[in-house]
Symmetry: C2
Subunit: 318 residues, 2 copies
């Protein structure tokens, strides 16, 4: 079975670990969000791709959900001693090596997809990890700060400000001119099922869908497209998705997120057991819906979620 998964960072990566356990023989292609990529200290950092790669490759800081296990911060301390920031972005020494290798390869002219493949040759994540695009796309967020409206990088909004200010707009800058990375459209065309993990619907999956051609390819693939709600009981399971949902005028409810994707794209939707009342609403929107436990407390619980998603896909197909 060929499965295509659109993934952001922590939520996507943890879901993928469950999916691999639920479908060990499946051929999984991950289309990773690159909208939160950022240049720091002259290095290209791809937080979502790395979170997937480290999580599936056994190098992740489990407690934190991102970054490397057993991490130290000597380089960052030294950069601070030089007065060079930002200090709000926690790059560890091991993590730095990934960004150094990536930046060196990009400078040598390799596209991000080749670079990602080269990094994965070490991590062996057990999935094919593709960036959504080789072109530079940066999600910017419009906020009012210090009395003026300004557009700041998503990471600055998310990490420095911890989404404490209202987001007036979320714009994947460069997306309209971008092309899907090599392999992305083919993987979708050849997929038996497409899954949306409980990743952020705006800045993770929404950004991937903003690359011209990807949304259309999924809608036209003629295979079940099933998503899992990142909202449980009217709040994000983790992260601050409600802040960016508000920016695009979407309520932070399981139903509203399903309607946001829409029945033109989504065939099936899993909501958490506590949101049982949403099932009828979602189905009324033309999207088949089931209420199941959606808390990724461990790999077993996550594998059960993945099995429910695959079962719903088969139900849709039949």
């Amino acid at each position: 079975m060929r499965i295509v998964v659109l993934a952001g960072g922590i939520g996507g990566a943890r879901f993928l670990r469950g999916l691999k356990a639920a479908a060990p023989d499946a051929d999984i292609t991950v289309i990773g969000n690159t909208g939160d990529d950022i240049h720091l200290f002259g290095l290209k950092v791809c937080p979502d791709l790395d979170t997937v790669m480290y999580t599936l490759g056994g190098g992740i800081n489990e407690e934190q959900g991102w970054g490397r296990s057993g991490e130290t911060f000597r380089v960052k301390e030294e950069l601070a001693a030089y007065g060079v920031g930002p200090e709000w972005f926690g790059l560890g020494d091991r993590d730095f090596a990934t960004h150094i290798v990536r930046t060196q390869m990009l400078s040598a002219g390799y596209p991000l997809s080749d670079v990602t493949e080269a990094l994965c040759a070490r991590w062996k994540p057990g999935v094919r990890l593709l960036p959504m695009s080789d072109d530079r796309i940066e999600t910017h967020v419009a906020v009012d700060e210090d009395g003026e409206r300004k557009a700041i990088h998503f990471q600055e909004y998310w990490v420095r400000l911890r989404a404490s200010l209202p987001a007036h707009a979320v714009v994947p800058v460069g997306a309209d001119q971008a092309k899907p990375a090599p392999g992305v459209l083919d993987a979708i065309a050849e997929a038996d099922v497409v899954l949306f993990p409980p990743s952020n619907p705006v800045v993770s999956i929404g950004t991937i869908l903003a690359v011209p051609g990807i949304r259309e390819a999924i809608a036209d693939a003629g295979v079940p497209v099933v998503g899992l709600s990142p909202i449980v009981g009217d709040a994000p399971v983790r992260g601050m998705a409600d802040k960016v949902l508000a920016a695009v005028g979407v309520e932070a409810t399981a139903t509203a997120v399903a309607q946001h994707y829409g029945s033109g794209l989504l065939d099936g939707w899993l909501v958490d057991s506590v949101d049982r009342a949403a099932v009828a609403e979602v189905e009324a929107a033309g999207i088949r819906c089931r209420a199941v436990p959606l808390m990724m407390t461990d790999v077993d619980a996550t594998a059960a979620m993945a099995r429910e998603a695959l079962a719903l896909a088969e139900e849709v197909r039949a």
Copy 2:
């Protein structure tokens, strides 16, 4: 008193520490060798400038003579795990931060002289440290390896091969097109004395003198130019200077090195007490010479050497 010092790495840096102790009120400008600069992992590494900066700024690994004290090697280990080398160049985590800051500033368009000043704002070396040039100059060494003659980067010759192969030529690639960095010629023109520490006469001081305009400025400055022999008892005090001296047809003796600089450039020359016999030879070449202890065993011994050099300069002047 305004002193200009031409410095390579370890020998130059240690001499400077002694000079500062000997002449605490002097205004010292260091013209640093950049011929052994190298790009590693996409980062610009300036070994000699950093050795001077770390040594005078209190950050040096004292035992090793280069690199940072209390160093760790997480980044390098990770790079090796990615299969990315070279592994023969020992960059520590703290040191990496310096190269990251430097590379970021260079990429932003700042010349190396501005970058060096910015880095020194942290280290406060107590001297004005100028790169010999803002232009890229790389010393290459011609060797016969694997049955063919090839030109390799000086660092590869020195660090990877440990100068174990004969050097057929030493070429400061790019020097002929380079200009002295801003401030270099002015510092020489305004100097009261110019000193050549016991640095490598070929790949350190020789490379600095290869930048068009620097040798001429020193020869024309009309102030005493005094050097200290890096060769004691027919062998380099440290390093493998004999290997590169052979490449330029110069014997590894205190006399031959003085003659190599020549009386058109050099007014005074200190040889070690064991080389007392060289004094007459050097003076026969028109260079005033004294035999004094030249082992930089500690700061006091090095300060004594610096005082001897300054005394010889005054003798020349008178």
